[in-house]
Symmetry: C2
Subunit: 360 residues, 2 copies
C-alpha cells in the first residue's frame, strides 16, 4: 500500500475541555505537528493550562457569544457538545476530535498506537457502503476484496467519517455502567470496516475524525447540557444525522481502528440523570431516522440538514417540545456554518448528483 | 457469559470431497464427538479413505441418484456445490460445513482455535441485524451493547448463519489471485459481528455453520460444475438467497470468528474459466437481490424460496437461459427438501409473522 501523506496543514484537532490539558503530554509525539482548537466549556473566567510547545487557539463561552452573536444559542453550554463550535471555526479540510480523558493505547504487541495516523488512513482511503467485505477494509495493508465482491463497486466511495474505538473503559450507557461497573474492554479487534448504507450506528465523539468538506455541516452536536432536558446524546444525534446524510450522498462511514485508552468512567448516577429521557426518546427517534428518505434535490450537506431539521420538528415534536427547539437550533447551526464558511466564489457548493448507478 | 452446551447430538458436519480425508486427523480432538456426512464428488467408483474412529455416513453420486430419483438433477456434479446434498439428508438442527483443505488455525497467542465451538457460540447467541454495535458482538465475553444502542433491540434476533473466516490463503477470485499470487491473510481480527439487515455479503462455503431448522431450505448451492456454464458461485448464490430470506424473516447472519487455516490456493487459471461468466453476471444479479421485496405472506423459508425462484426466472432470465434452469432447480430442491424433511405432523411449519414492530 502506498504511503499516505500526513495532513499537518489540512487537519485540526478539536478538544472540548473544562480542565488543564495535561493529557496532551502523552500525545505530544503524535499531535505536536498539528494545530489544536480547544473549546473551553463552563466558566469562561477559568484558565485552561496547555502544555508548552503546542500550536493552539482556545475559545471560551465569551468567544462563542462574540463570534456567533444571537446564533450562539445553538452551541451547548456545560456539555461536551460544545465541541462542534470547533468544527465551525476550523478552516481545515479534516477534523480529529478527542476527549481529554483519552490516552495513547497499545497494540497487543506493546506498540503505541498513533490514533491520528490511522484516522488519516481511514479518511484517505475509500469506503465500501454498498456491499459487505468479509475480510474487512479491502484498502488495508495485506487485504483486498474477497471472491464474490462486485467489481463495479471496488472503487468504493469517498470516506466522510472515521469512528475510532476505546480500550479499557467502554462507552456504555448509565444502566450498563451500573450493572457492570467492572467491565473493561480488552478486546483489540484488528479491523476497520464500513458501516453499510442503510444501517445506523451509535457514533461516539470521544475518538472521531471526519472530512469537514464532505460532511462538516452535519456534525452538529445538538442542544445538550445546561438548560436542556438531556445530555450524553450529543454525539449520538450527530451520528444519526450524519449517517442518514452520508447514505443519501453515498459517502462512507468507517468504524474500528484506531483504539485510544479511555482512562476513566464517568459517574453512572450523574449519567443516568442526563440520559434517562434519551433512553426512552431514542425508541422513537431511531425508527424516525431509519425511515427517513431525503429528497433527490438535496445534493449538498446543508440542503440535507435543513430538510432533516424540518422533519425533526414535524415528526418528533410530538415527543417533547424540545424537538421543536432542536429543529430550530439545527437551522441556526447551518446559518452559522454558512456565515463562517462561505463557499469559495468561483465554485459551486454542491456535490455531484448522488444517485450514481451501481452497475456497469 | 454462561457456558454454552455442546451440540453433539444436534449437529452434523458436512464435508464435500474427492479425496481421502486425512485432514480430519488434525481436527480429531474437535470433530470426533460429532457425526460426519461426507458427500463424495466425482467418480463414484473411487474409494474415499476416512481416518479410523470417526462416525460418518458417505454418499456418492449413485446414492444421490438413488435417494432423489429424478430430483437428483438439482444436485451439482463435479463441484463442491454437491455439499448441499448433505444438508438435505441430515436430520439434525445444526450444520457445520468445512472444506477438506482447511486446517486448525491458531490465535495470535498460539492457542489452537476450536472453530466448531465458536460457530456453536455464534449460533446459540442472538444476532443484532437492526442496529450496528460498534464493539462488535454484544453477546461475546466481556462485551455488551454500547451507549446509544436502543434497549428495545437488545434481545436481538435468532441467529441463522455463522460465517467463519480464513487465515493464510484468502478467499479471492481468480483475477485477484492472478494479480496478488503471494498475498496471505495474516490479520486475526478478534471480532464477530452481525451483517446488518438489508446488506448483502459474499458468503464462502469453506467454513460455515447454520441452523437447519431456521434457514436450511435456503442453503441450496445451485447448479455448478459439470454441464453448467459457471462454477465457484455456489456458495455466493446460497449466500445471496439466504441473506435476503433472513432479512425478510428477521433472522441474523454473523461473520468473523472463527478462523480456519486455509492451506492451499486453487489454480487461478482453472478458477478464471469457472468464474468469468459469474464475474459479469453478478453485476446484474446483485442489484436484483438488493432490490427484492418478498411478499408478507411468505412466512416460511420454503415459501420465500419458491417466491425467489419465480423472481429469478422472471427477472434474471434475460441474462442467460441458465437462470431459467436454475430457477427450476430451486423449485426441485424445495420439493426434495420437503420430501426428505416432512414437517412433524402435530406442528405447523411456519415461523411467527416476521414483521415484528421494532419499538416498544
Amino acid at each position: 500500500m502506498a504511503q499516505l501523506r500526513d495532513l499537518k496543514d489540512e487537519l485540526d484537532i478539536v478538544i472540548p475541555t473544562i480542565r488543564n490539558l495535561d493529557f496532551l503530554e502523552m500525545w505530544r509525539p503524535f499531535f505536536q505537528p498539528y494545530h489544536l482548537i480547544i473549546v473551553q466549556d463552563g466558566d469562561p473566567s477559568n484558565t485552561i493550562g496547555v502544555p508548552e510547545g503546542f500550536d493552539y487557539e482556545l475559545y471560551n463561552r465569551n468567544d462563542v457569544n462574540r463570534i456567533l452573536g444571537p446564533k450562539a444559542s445553538c452551541i451547548s453550554f456545560k456539555d461536551s457538545a460544545c465541541r462542534c463550535f470547533g468544527f465551525l471555526v476550523s478552516k481545515k479540510k479534516y477534523i480529529f476530535t478527542i476527549d481529554d480523558d483519552c490516552f495513547v493505547a497499545k497494540e497487543p504487541s506493546g506498540k503505541e498506537i498513533n490514533a491520528l495516523e490511522q484516522h488519516i488512513r481511514n479518511l484517505l482511503t475509500p469506503s465500501t457502503p454498498l456491499f459487505f467485505n468479509t475480510l474487512y477494509d479491502p484498502f488495508a495493508n495485506g487485504s483486498d476484496f474477497v471472491r464474490g465482491y462486485p467489481f463495479s463497486l471496488r472503487e468504493g466511495r469517498p470516506t466522510a467519517i472515521s469512528h475510532g474505538l476505546w480500550l479499557n473503559i467502554p462507552d456504555y450507557d448509565a444502566p450498563t455502567q451500573l450493572v457492570k461497573p467492572r467491565e473493561r474492554n480488552t478486546r483489540y479487534a484488528d479491523a476497520v470496516m464500513t458501516i453499510p448504507k442503510g444501517t445506523l450506528f451509535p457514533m461516539c465523539g470521544m475518538n472521531l475524525a471526519f472530512d469537514r468538506e464532505l460532511i462538516g455541516p452535519a456534525m452538529y452536536f445538538g442542544l445538550m447540557g445546561d438548560g436542556q432536558p438531556i445530555g450524553r446524546y450529543d454525539d449520538m444525534w450527530a451520528g444519526w444525522c450524519a449517517k442518514v446524510i452520508c447514505d443519501h450522498l453515498l459517502l462512507g462511514v468507517k468504524t474500528g481502528l484506531p483504539y485510544i485508552w479511555h482512562s476513566k468512567a464517568s459517574n453512572p448516577f450523574v449519567n443516568l440523570k442526563k440520559e434517562y429521557k434519551g433512553i426512552y426518546w431514542q425508541e422513537d427517534i431511531i425508527p424516525f431516522f431509519q425511515s427517513i428518505a431525503l429528497r433527490e434535490e438535496c445534493t449538498s450537506v446543508q440542503d440535507c440538514y435543513i430538510e432533516l431539521a424540518n422533519k425533526v420538528k414535524e415528526r418528533l415534536g410530538f415527543i417533547d417540545p424540545y424537538f421543536e427547539k432542536l429543529g430550530d437550533a439545527m437551522v441556526t447551526w447551518i446559518e452559522a456554518w454558512n456565515e463562517l464558511n462561505p463557499p469559495p466564489p468561483a465554485q459551486t457548493a454542491t456535490l455531484a448528483h448522488p444517485n450514481v448507478a451501481m452497475k456497469n
